[in-house]
């Protein structure tokens, strides 16, 4: 869909995204700061004989952050007083929905590349392992990014959307393996290296689910109308 945009439209779209980030102001740096902190911590703590410790931590904490920018970027539509005026603008819902979500997840992916590059540069993992970690985190980030999109267009409240993500995070960290985290997280057993076959099976399934949720979220956003408050 994005490739159909002309050069002028693409330029405008990029400017739109830049302004979206500027409007988020300081809060747009939260995922960056957290990921940098996790990367430093993970690099120090990483033990090649027990990769499960750091890898699980990365899987539990990094991908949910992909939803942050996406939820925040819909603030103007759902919570701002100007929300009503937005509904009269002639923008394409696909570009502002799927288009923006894809770009934001794309930008988030660069942070994941940074995490993996750091692990590699500290010589803690082989290239094959790094590629697999990268793939796992990337697919999971897509999943959470799309979940963020779905939450904001369904709940229409920034705080509640974040609350759901926080709940998922909470259960990921302290609740043991919930059905969702069991479904998403690639488990690496103690003393073992990463099983590539298991990763691929899981990733295909998670990615299919992501596409499914993305379609639902976009349909919902296309039908999104202003709700008059009495």
């Amino acid at each position: 869909m994005l490739h159909k945009l002309g050069r002028r439209e693409m330029k405008r779209f990029i400017r739109l995204i830049l302004l979206d980030y500027k409007e988020m102001s300081g809060v747009c740096f939260i995922p960056i700061v957290l990921i940098l902190a996790l990367t430093i911590y993970g690099s120090i703590m990483f033990d090649p004989r027990q990769p499960v410790l750091v890898l699980n931590m990365f899987q539990q904490l990094i991908p949910p952050l992909a939803s942050w920018w996406i939820i925040m970027s819909f603030y103007s539509f759902v919570e701002d007083e100007s929300g009503e005026a937005f509904f009269t603008y002639g923008f394409s819902r696909k570009v502002i929905g799927i288009g923006r979500v894809c770009v934001m997840i794309g930008l988030f992916s660069m942070l994941i590349v940074l995490v993996c590059t750091t692990l590699m540069l500290t010589n803690k993992c082989s290239i094959i392992e790094i590629i697999n970690i990268l793939l796992v985190l990337w697919v999971q980030s897509w999943f959470y990014g799309v979940i963020g999109f779905l939450l904001i267009v369904v709940i229409k409240k920034i705080l509640w959307s974040f609350a759901v993500i926080m709940m998922i995070l909470y259960f990921n960290i302290w609740g043991g393996l919930t059905p969702l985290s069991r479904y998403l997280i690639v488990t690496v057993e103690m003393q073992k290296s990463i099983d590539i076959k298991e990763i691929w099976l899981k990733l295909v399934s998670v990615f299919s689910m992501t596409i499914f949720f993305l379609i639902i979220a976009q349909v919902r956003f296309t039908k999104f109308r202003f709700r008059a408050r009495k």
Binding site: R15, L19, E23, E81, S82, E84, F87, S92
Partner: protein, 282 residues
């Protein structure tokens, strides 16, 4: 623009009851008390709400064609505040992109900023603007892309007198370039700004015409009465619109369809009294 037999229900509440307003052009005011249905009507015209039945057309475009309509309208809602972290320039550029205007967003932004007289605030953050400036920014976002119809919902409420005057002049200026549909519950605004006016009450149209026609309807129904004691409207048999105390007497102005007292003298109605007469008649 023509509005024909428009109806809208909120559950069991009839918000709009068979609204017909023909040949809307220049600056058209909608006046009515809170809950009269002005905002509902504005929202339907602005395509943010769906009507239950009826039609709206303008130059051959039907409001069923939402995409086309959105290209010819600009809307300033009652509550407006946007992009607190962006500068005025950036906020309008963002809107220009969302509106998919034809020209260069930066150039178009400059033009509307100048038109609403916010040049010196172009690089200020939106969050730092005063209430009046935010309304002007609201008008700027609405007129981006040069729409044929501008819809402004109660833009003057909450503004200080100077900003209100400035805003009315701006609307007057815009009325020469586009059709402006302007709602308010402040009757003075109508008198100062509008070419024609529609009075709404409980979801119905009471009258559509000029301010002079509205005053004409109330001719012979506005009275002045003097009394040595303070009296209520009920005691006087009408709706009191003004009361002054001078020389030991209370001098009342009231609206009533019959002579309220022997000593009552007919007076020339103001637009506000004409408005009260229209509502009182119902």
């Amino acid at each position: 623009m023509d509005i024909n037999n428009l109806n809208k229900m909120y559950g069991k509440l009839k918000a709009l009851d068979n609204i017909c307003i023909r040949d809307i052009k220049g600056i058209h005011g909608l006046v009515g008390e809170n809950g009269a249905g002005k905002t509902t009507l504005m929202r339907i015209v602005a395509t943010v709400l769906e009507k239950d039945s009826g039609s709206i057309t303008h130059n051959g475009i039907s409001w069923e064609e939402t995409v086309k309509v959105r290209n010819i309208i600009g809307y300033l809602p009652q509550k407006f505040g946007m992009y607190h972290q962006l500068t005025v320039n950036e906020a309008l550029e963002h809107v220009a992109i969302l509106k998919r205007i034809n020209g260069d967003p930066k150039e178009e932004t400059k033009k509307v900023i100048s038109l609403v007289n916010l040049d010196d605030k172009a690089e200020s953050k939106v969050g730092s603007l005063s209430g009046g400036m935010i309304r002007r920014l609201g008008i700027a976002q609405a007129i981006l892309g040069n729409p044929e119809i501008l819809i402004v919902d109660e833009p003057t409420s909450g503004l200080d007198p100077e900003e209100r005057m400035r805003f009315k002049l701006l609307l007057r200026q815009l009325g020469n370039r586009m059709t402006v549909l302007f709602s308010t519950h402040i009757v003075d605004d109508i008198e100062d700004v509008c070419d024609r006016v529609t009075v709404m009450h409980k979801g119905k149209v009471m009258l559509t015409g000029t301010a002079a026609e509205m005053i004409e309807m109330a001719q012979g129904n506005t009275w002045t009465v003097s009394s040595n004691e303070e009296k209520s409207g009920e005691e006087l048999g009408g709706v009191v619109t003004d009361c002054k105390y001078a020389n030991g007497m209370f001098h009342f102005r009231l609206v009533s369809d019959k002579k309220p007292a022997e000593s009552a003298v007919r007076a020339e109605p103001t637009l506000e009294e004409a408005y009260i007469y229209l509502l009182h008649m119902e």
